[in-house]
Symmetry: C2
Subunit: 374 residues, 2 copies
Amino acid sequence: MFKFEIQKNDTPTGARLGKMHTAHGIVDTPAFMPVATQAVVKGLSPEEVCDMGFQMVIVNAYHMFLRPGHKTVEEQGGLHGFMHWDRPITTDSGGFQVLSLAKTRKIKEGGIIFQSHLDGTEHFLTPALAIEIQESLGSDIMMCLDECPPYPSTEEYIKDSVGLTTSWAKLCKNARSKQDRALFGIVQGGVYPELRERSAGELAEIGFDGYALGGLGIGEDPGATYDITEHTLSFLPRDKPRYLMGLGNPEDIVTAVSCGVDLFDCVIPTRNARNGTLFTSRGKLVIKNARYTEDKRPIDESCCCYTCKTYSRSYLRHLFIAKEILVLRLLTLHNLSFYAELMRNIRRAIAQEEFSNLISSVQSHGGHEKIETF
Amino acid sequence: MFKFEIQKNDTPTGARLGKMHTAHGIVDTPAFMPVATQAVVKGLSPEEVCDMGFQMVIVNAYHMFLRPGHKTVEEQGGLHGFMHWDRPITTDSGGFQVLSLAKTRKIKEGGIIFQSHLDGTEHFLTPALAIEIQESLGSDIMMCLDECPPYPSTEEYIKDSVGLTTSWAKLCKNARSKQDRALFGIVQGGVYPELRERSAGELAEIGFDGYALGGLGIGEDPGATYDITEHTLSFLPRDKPRYLMGLGNPEDIVTAVSCGVDLFDCVIPTRNARNGTLFTSRGKLVIKNARYTEDKRPIDESCCCYTCKTYSRSYLRHLFIAKEILVLRLLTLHNLSFYAELMRNIRRAIAQEEFSNLISSVQSHGGHEKIETF
């Protein structure tokens, strides 16, 4: 059975140190889940992801449903067998991807009619189907189907959307057949504090194993993101894990942890790596920059990842410019190692009552938004 | 100093078992060199290439000269330091790439004027420059600059080309400054036995550490390839290594080994892998084929590579169809493992006087040209 244990509450901030017990083992929180959209962390083997210290990845149910099909994955031993990852797996329900990827979509009371972004075929994604897909995939943490409205949307629209998300959440809970797997509700409500409060309250009343904050980081003012996050968390049960979906940069993560968020996923470390933008202890480094042509140093002298222990900036730049695919793996390894280390530092800082210092330290690295030229 | 030792001559065939001693260690022959055109075996780390048992790779001097520049590589500790490979490295001189890649090329007595395929800049590649580049790269086996005529070419053209190749070979030998690195001559002569004989004889008279057969596998009848190979080898010193450039399929390799070839390089295993065509003990397998959608078996049940020990055809097909880059690495690992095993089997068979049996066995796998549907 899924269980969440809080081991320590940080007093100066709202940060928590915890452990999620899942059907495939423990996840120490605050945790970051590398994104394995199509049942693979792009470019990496599961052993590499595991060796960095990640305990959980997130796979996309929408993608698995369309290709290769959740029944095919089930036949192959579920996602764990299919992708050869024996640690916990979260799956997103597909609500967000239907919004962002589908060719057309039509929201009905019973679900979402959409056309596949791959071949235009029409599908009807209902709350019950979202759960059926995720149970077939064998995920340890399933997400309810939600309606994720675009930003900006009117208060009127968001109000209806919250209502729909609540009623779908009930249907999802009812559709669930595997009680050893966790099901999280997703709070919506846009940037409207009263609607967030209502959404959080209604989901808490239904009762889930954990709660996610959806519909954030989709274009709203960054200040609003954390006001809404903090406000919403105050209406969610303190003893359940809270998951901020789809965000963040290192600064996003420490800020959200200080509000009491336990779980994260984001494409930033992996996508940035593929674009050649690297996180370092001194800010971001853009590997294709001509100044690295002859640079013998590793990406980050204080990093212990395979890439930094093995290759010079000069070689990595050469591979990047020459479009050699090995570089995508090497840079992804580095960026994810940076994130794994960040999360270890966060957990250690909370344990040692030094989390406030860590926040300032992460935020002072030029905000990581500044491109360093070192 | 470079040294070649023949440990055993196969009596029923012309096959030889040997050891090349290079500045970076021993290479057991017959050997296959994975192609690391741009200082990387596409998709693989050097540790992966090494773990499969390969003792030498081949890098392209033409590519390194144009990008990142041989002086940059020299600054980074030569190719060995740059690409983090501490075993022997062969470099091709660039003659073939100037033929196949350059936008325009003009053969002069003193060298080749060509335009870079990358940015159109004009360069003059002379025998002395070809050696300077390869010495900067720190290669263990350098190749002379040759003129590689297209197929078909007239006997008249090939005759001139052989003359030029001989005179360039002399200039290359004179230009060489590092005596601990090997220099191989390249026999040309097209499909004309007399011209091959002349080319081999002239190069042997100049005297090189080894001899390569160039200008084969470029469109001539496959039967002609081996007639020419066998004929040419008879005019080359028996105590020096012989390298058949750019060929082969498994059948090519066993046939050429039986003629007395010691060294191979070819893009087939790596390029086929990226196209999803896999070598197996039962013939070729095309991973994108719909029949593998639900197939739980590994690519090859008798293969011990990481890919076969870990993943189903179903998962690999999914990654391939979904264009996930990890699959390029996994399939390349498999195909190169197949080649590493083939070369081990060839060496073992020669040692145990069973090489004739191995030839029939390799050739009976549907010629590997047949696509198996298993």
